[in-house]
Symmetry: D2
Amino acid sequence: MKADAPIFRWPVRVYWEDTDAGGIVYYANYLKFFERARTEWLRSLGLAQAELAAQAGLVFVVAEVHLRYAAPARLDDALQIQLRAQEFGAASLQVVQQAWLTDAQGAPGTLLCEATVRVGCVQSASLRPARIPADMRARINRWMTG
Amino acid sequence: MKADAPIFRWPVRVYWEDTDAGGIVYYANYLKFFERARTEWLRSLGLAQAELAAQAGLVFVVAEVHLRYAAPARLDDALQIQLRAQEFGAASLQVVQQAWLTDAQGAPGTLLCEATVRVGCVQSASLRPARIPADMRARINRWMTG
Amino acid sequence: MKADAPIFRWPVRVYWEDTDAGGIVYYANYLKFFERARTEWLRSLGLAQAELAAQAGLVFVVAEVHLRYAAPARLDDALQIQLRAQEFGAASLQVVQQAWLTDAQGAPGTLLCEATVRVGCVQSASLRPARIPADMRARINRWMTG
Amino acid sequence: MKADAPIFRWPVRVYWEDTDAGGIVYYANYLKFFERARTEWLRSLGLAQAELAAQAGLVFVVAEVHLRYAAPARLDDALQIQLRAQEFGAASLQVVQQAWLTDAQGAPGTLLCEATVRVGCVQSASLRPARIPADMRARINRWMTG
């Protein structure tokens, strides 16, 4: 991943539903935040997953995630989720995602959680690997190269 | 509902995932507990919902819920969910469900939450109302009359 | 509730996390959407719940909810959550909340779910009822009377 | 990890709440299943986390997770979660956890998801690393050595 790789940013607010009795965001919920950001990243490229499922019978499923938790987030915190594309194969995609606590100006301040996520394209009926459609590849490639 | 109506009981343990930063079970999660108990009640009558969906194309959807929260539950609490059938129509079913905190012997001690839940039987594709299959009606009726 | 009572509106997008195997939003998740909107409504009035908890030792807890489900929402749907204040007591508050499916222009089109929610103000340690602080009452009253 | 390391097993049933519109268990929810199994493993050793928090002011937080998804689980599936202790330090613990689909006899058949989870012991107020209490270390060591 080049230092100047494009970054997709998505804001997430911490609500009661996201926290646990330890007073912090429950560890599984970062996977929800990261999934929202991947969905919005695809949407920003003109790619709606509900359409992809209905029209091409394709779904993206997560094959592998490596999560490192650095600092806790709390109720009412405003987070910024960042996404960088890392590797891009015929039927899969690897992204790096980070959750940052933002400061009063909305700038990322403290790294909360970082994940490497490998996503595979599969047929929704059989869940067998499928090639990412050419148009989608083109859009992602265009975004990656700025 | 007769005082001696049969009661289905299902144990639920409170985990970190169920709590929020207030230190108590998040209010939406009682709906999860109640749904688990309805599913296990149907299963105890020999009715598996995944089968019902695959074979008859039918799903149960909740049409209305009235929830009253009486006392909070906390991490590690052992709950007992109770279910009584209240009304039983051609395409719908109304049940009363309660979440109780149990004591060390597993007996229900404190009422935590009570709900009246109306569930409709619908076609899974169109989500239009559908008659509850005769065999299912028979099994539920047999249970209700003890 | 007067027809011209002020309405607070909050957008919610449906993600994978919100849906279930029936292909629709899981019934408990509307309570999450409604809670987000209540939190953002209070925030819009200058009232942050994390501060309220830390400074005054007060939390809002839901005492009663009456939910009616009218139509299902699906993956990628853009919803608008609406909130109207209905009753306002010394230690409690009742609001009506609706989830609407929006059209391409973002206008509410189909009613998905409606809830009457009664919220009580309690001391966070004891969970005993507590008066809503005067400043908070004043802000909510000002909003209700437009 | 020795091949004959002791294994803790915990049953998990897949409910509607666990699934998504793809018809399979949502990827974040395996972290809930794994957390339930860790909690029950500690409970089986006489270690209740709510007590640990109240009496010693200590909480376990997840520092790192590596998740590999092998096959999907569906509504009504009966899973078995397995846990093996892998490394055991002064203030942290690493476990390997697997989710298996069980057959009609309840025996694990298909591997669904595997995770390596590193958990740290921290002070609940400051979230700073803390030594695992001696009694707890002794109980875990006893279990690990059979």
